[in-house]
């Protein structure tokens, strides 16, 4: 097993992971932690395979990082996957609007019922004869 870059000082894999971390704004901490752990395991597996095939440790890491590609492309693919689709956003806005409208309608209806009740109860006391149906 190739010793980790943390044991050797900075290496290509360590630089790649740092790049991944730098470009990962917008991802939640848990997602980011999983992404970094998964990427690191992948890179070290790949470097190990290259090392076993005869490459020097430094070259093996460089090859693994080169094959892994741009950190940014992985992060943007993750962002795209995690982004809420516009249709879902629109549906949420519409549902919220309907909910607020419903609550408003119920409030108006309830206040009307209360009003009728109050008028019916108070009017006889006040000497008025009219009852609201």
């Amino acid at each position: 097993m190739i010793p980790s870059s943390a044991d050797q000082g900075a290496g290509a894999i360590e630089d790649c992971l740092a790049g991944l971390l730098r470009t990962s704004a917008g991802l939640q901490h848990r997602q980011l932690r999983h992404l970094i752990a998964e990427a690191e395991a992948h890179l070290r597996d790949d470097a190990e395979a290259a090392h076993a095939a005869g490459a020097a440790v430094y070259d093996a890491e460089l090859k693994a990082v080169a094959r892994f590609g741009q950190a940014m492309s992985l992060v943007s693919a993750e962002r795209k996957r995690l982004a809420t689709p516009i249709s879902v956003l629109l549906r949420q806005v519409m549902l919220t609007g309907l909910l607020l409208g419903g609550v408003g309608a119920i409030s108006v209806g309830a206040s009307g019922i209360v009003d009728v009740g109050v008028v019916n109860d108070l009017d006889p006391m006040l000497g008025h004869d009219q009852r609201v149906p």
């Binding site: 752990a37 990427a39 395991a41 992948h42 992985l74 993750e78």
Partner: protein, 114 residues
């Protein structure tokens, strides 16, 4: 063949590979490369988001396990993943039959048809 060559069939390939045995991302990419004699060389930037998307869709499940001294995220097919694989495999086979039938058309006949 890069990702563009398998566009639309990436899910089928990933589900197909993981149907044999649960595996982590590196193993999936290596298996795809080896089983196709290097024809399918998929990038990590395509495979990992696809694995995560399939997991979001409930077709894969994942768990972190120590394998050979390293913590790895192992993916496996769920029951829904098996069903989806079956459906995607049938679609693929129907597509292959359709394309083959076009390619097998005799030259004169296809010219007549046009």
């Amino acid at each position: 063949m890069k990702v563009d060559g398998v566009k639309g069939h990436l899910d089928l390939l990933l589900l197909g590979i993981l149907n044999h045995t649960p595996g982590h991302g590196y193993a999936v990419i290596s298996a795809l490369r080896e089983q196709t004699d290097g024809m399918l060389e998929l990038t990590e930037g395509a495979v990992y988001p696809a694995l995560h998307r399939l997991e979001d869709a409930g077709l894969l499940s994942s768990e972190w396990q120590p394998v050979a001294g390293r913590r790895r995220r192992l993916y496996r097919l769920t029951r829904a993943g098996e069903v989806s694989l079956g459906a995607e495999r049938r679609d693929w086979q129907a597509l292959v039959v359709a394309v083959e039938s076009v390619l097998r058309l005799p030259r004169a006949r296809s010219a007549d048809a046009l």
